[in-house]
Symmetry: C2
Subunit: 221 residues, 2 copies
DNA sequence: TGTACATCAGTGAACGCGCGTTCACTGATGTAC
DNA sequence: TGTACATCAGTGAACGCGCGTTCACTGATGTAC
């Protein structure tokens, strides 16, 4: 985006990799991962399709770049949602408020950015390995920003005594399943087409039950 | 499948619509909805691609047929899972056991039949309307067999006093979000690649929290 | 029971489409001396 | 500072692919008389 780069010769683009990834991400934003078409990204940048192959080994590698950006966008949205709104004086209430914020943000991001949301969850085929990503599933998850943001929110709940340490371990997957399932059902599934009010109610109720389930002490079970 | 039909002239197939839908469903089973290719289905039945157009207006219509079959397969799996295992003498425990069965069956179907699972949730494009399906979202959901099976299981929980009537209304979407999200995360998402043990633990924990959340009385919240 | 004919359910060839990818090429850039 | 040259980062044309869909056609089936 710097002027020096833009003013470069049109021939040597200056930052074609990023420009292509940006264009591809825009494609994903408006049409999901299937819309990430290498030729179209090149077209949008104003460059031949073959030029892309100077910077990406394959279409798949470009898609992985898009995926990373989509995950980053999700993380940004979660972080922003987490911190938004008025703080509450009571620490416990505040921690709970933040956790609700987080949950709402996840679903909100999916509804507002369906294309990116899907792109964030494309699964790389075994034929397209990308470097710099841990092979182990757990490592990979724990290294992801969305997961780290969730972890902090859960730690806060533990700190204020709203979440038993014993339940802390189960919480991430329960949270994730719930908000992810809700998102996909509302977006592509049978719940698509709900009107605004119905959708809001569905989200509220689902989160109520999630939070109750997470908070419930193992003793009382 | 009847002999009379098979013995018919090869020219007039006898039941080409079903044969095509069967072949297409097999394609979906092994490759998901994207693998539902009209030409390939025709090839498998041993008929020209053009012949398919005598019975389906378009590829999309064939895909909808596959979707219906996939939903039916899911419903069958849910029903079978629900009724499986040893009955418990205590009605409350039995109702809870059945509910757990149901949840496990949902995730189990997804893991065992990834292609059909995805096919069951393809969303028809607005250009491919199918007749005989209610336009209203809620009606459409309530008319679906999987939803009816879930409803009965929840009613049982109410009947034995494990689920407050007040919470009954919130339960379907919470249940559905949770098991659907868990399924997709395990199948295509970041949780794919978990080993058998980790996966089993993840499922158990997620269901524990779901059930606790559903059971929790609103009074105690 | 036969026959004429409409309709039904197939065929096979062709169309256009857009894709990912490769190739020989060429002009621009950077570097060694 | 100039010059020779290697390398870099583009071009544009072409390839093969498989798809959904259409078309004029034809052989089989069912029906009216």
């Amino acid at each position: 985006m710097t002027t020096t780069r833009v003013s470069r010769s049109a021939y040597h683009h200056g930052d074609l990799p990023n420009a292509l990834a940006d264009a591809a991400t825009d494609l994903a934003r408006s049409g999901g991962p299937d819309a990430v078409v290498l030729r179209e990204a090149a077209r949008r940048v104003g460059v031949s399709a073959a030029a892309a192959y100077r910077h990406f080994a394959s279409h798949c590698e470009l898609l992985q770049e898009v995926k990373q950006r989509a995950v980053a966008a999700l993380a940004d949205a979660l972080q922003e949602g987490l911190d938004s709104g008025e703080r509450l004086p009571d620490p416990a209430e505040e921690a709970l408020r933040r956790f609700r914020n987080l949950s709402m943000s996840y679903v909100g991001f999916a509804l507002d950015n369906p294309g990116l949301f899907h792109a964030a969850f494309v699964n790389h085929s075994p034929f397209c390995r990308v470097e710099g990503i841990p092979g182990d599933v757990k490592e990979r998850i724990e290294a992801s920003r969305p997961y780290q943001i969730l972890s902090e929110a859960l730690d806060d709940l533990v700190a204020v005594g709203l979440l038993d340490q014993a339940r802390r371990e189960m919480a991430p997957i329960a949270f994730w399943s719930s908000v992810h399932g809700l998102s996909t059902l509302l977006l592509d599934g049978p719940l698509a087409g709900l009107d605004d009010h119905e959708r809001a109610v569905a989200i509220q109720r689902s989160l109520d039950i999630l939070i109750d389930g997470i908070r419930r002490s193992p003793r009382s079970a």
